[in-house]
């Protein structure tokens, strides 16, 4: 039962990823793409947690945490660049 639900969850997360990816490709502006990228990375965290649950390895949680940290820094850097980036 739980396994079936987890598979379904993975499927819906994939749909969410697909929708955000559509916005990432479509744009039209750079800001739209960064917003979509932000959403994509957060959805990926869910993917990594699902991987941790399915394989039963907690090391993936560390991966998820570092991934979230790096994507946050990436988005902040991209936003700084978009607004002119003098500072």
């Amino acid at each position: 039962m739980a396994d079936l639900l987890l598979s379904l969850a993975a499927l819906i997360a994939a749909v969410a990823f697909g929708l955000a990816a559509w916005r990432f490709i479509k744009g039209p502006r750079a800001t739209d793409r960064v917003v979509a990228f932000d959403a994509l990375t957060i959805i990926s965290v869910t993917g990594i947690v699902l991987a941790a649950l399915i394989t039963g390895r907690s090391i993936y949680l560390d991966v998820a945490l570092v991934y979230a940290l790096l994507s946050f820094l990436g988005v902040i850097t991209a936003a700084r660049y978009l607004e002119g980036g003098e500072e």
């Binding site: 739980a2 379904l8 993975a10 929708l19 916005r23 502006r29 932000d38 957060i42 959805i43 902040i76």
Partner: protein, 112 residues
């Protein structure tokens, strides 16, 4: 044994609910008319969605709950922050919002 089976199913349901919110956020990203509304849809849905996914994971594997809680705290703090920085960047870069009133642009004109 019955209890762990119950927790597994409950956790999986919570997790499933979380992914539903992620999908709604994705739909918002696609449907909303301008970058500010897209940020709104994206940030709220992905925050709650991810929190529910992590909560579900904690119910399925209680041994991981401390680390999952850490990820939750981190996301609750950074997720809105990156959205705000993006919204600010968009406005400073001159992306006009689809809006009946833009107090920020009005004030910027006053100062200029």
């Amino acid at each position: 044994m019955i209890l762990s089976g119950f927790l597994d199913t409950l956790g999986a349901l919570v997790l499933l609910g979380g992914t539903l919110f992620l999908a709604l956020g994705g739909l918002g990203l696609v449907r909303m008319p301008d970058v500010y509304n897209r940020i709104q849809a994206g940030t709220k849905a992905t925050t709650l969605g991810t929190l529910l996914v992590l909560l579900g994971a904690a119910l399925i594997s209680p041994a991981w709950s401390v680390k999952l809680l850490l990820i939750m705290l981190f996301l609750m703090f950074t997720n809105p922050l990156s959205s705000q920085v993006l919204a600010r960047a968009a406005h400073r870069a001159g992306v006009a919002p689809v809006a009946s009133k833009d107090a920020l642009a009005d004030d910027a004109e006053d100062l200029a």
